[in-house]
Subunit: 159 residues, 2 copies
């Protein structure tokens, strides 16, 4: 997980993460764009303030089964990041190693989300998870002053 401090000097560290941000209902949204998450693809999903969103992209199919680093992973584009910031979602999770692109938009996407107080979960293995609503439980290590921390995250069906 990335805390605001990951990109913003003096901002909140991972030990100040409210557990309510990462424990609760989350929505897994399927992303079809093979390059990036775009505002246009998010629009029909009626995203609400405070939502926890996990994006299941082509990364789930293409990246996790490879031993090699997947440099062309699908990331959250700038217009999508701004849209999510405007919507004031609570958490954004992605199914590969960074929420920003490896070749472009990496720092900018992080900054837009983190400045909006959105907590970032990276590296989710969503291969076995269909789109829909779940209970998310993501518990990062409580690293004092850390700009981020490794976390174990699970989803379970809502009973």
């Amino acid at each position: 997980m990335d805390a605001p401090l990951h990109y913003l000097a003096g901002a909140a560290a991972i030990d100040s993460l409210p557990l309510a941000a990462v424990v609760g209902v989350a929505r897994v949204i399927e992303i079809r764009n093979p390059e990036m998450v775009t505002r246009g693809e998010l629009l029909p999903h009626d995203i609400q303030p405070g939502e926890r969103l996990l994006f299941k992209t082509g990364n789930s199919e293409h990246c996790w089964d490879s031993e090699d680093f997947c440099a062309d992973y699908v990331y959250v584009g700038l217009d999508a990041a701004r849209y999510l910031a405007d919507k004031a979602v609570r958490v954004v999770g992605v199914d590969y190693l960074s929420v920003g692109g490896f070749k472009q938009d990496g720092p900018e996407t992080h900054r837009i989300l983190l400045e909006a107080g959105i907590w970032i979960i990276e590296g989710l293995d969503l291969r076995g998870v269909d789109p829909g609503s779940y209970e998310l439980i993501c518990l990062p290590l409580k690293v004092l002053g850390g700009d981020g921390a490794p976390a174990r995250a699970v989803v379970r069906r809502i009973r």
Copy 2:
């Protein structure tokens, strides 16, 4: 958390932990003995097979507020460890750094529990947790082949 591999060569590593072992109803039991958890003190608690048990000892009051290492922490004594193994509980959690004593019974207590297939959670901060039943969520990092892993653990009231 300690996996069986922590003391038993060739035994299960932490990446094989079934999440059902550490996510579900758990019972916080108050321990009054100031030296160790004993079989005698556990007897009245009607411990059942498969239970997740977290022991709240004097450690919660005496050890966590100190900057110094608390060498005389309350641990799980050998007779209690054998009793828990006989009862086939699923998880044992303790409120300081080791389930076994620092000065005695450390390895033996671990071995008895781990040989019985009991997963061990150490280092729980139970200061704010009253005895009773809760939902436990303890998610260790999935360290491949690890004999243990750091974990974040929370309890919440059962609704």
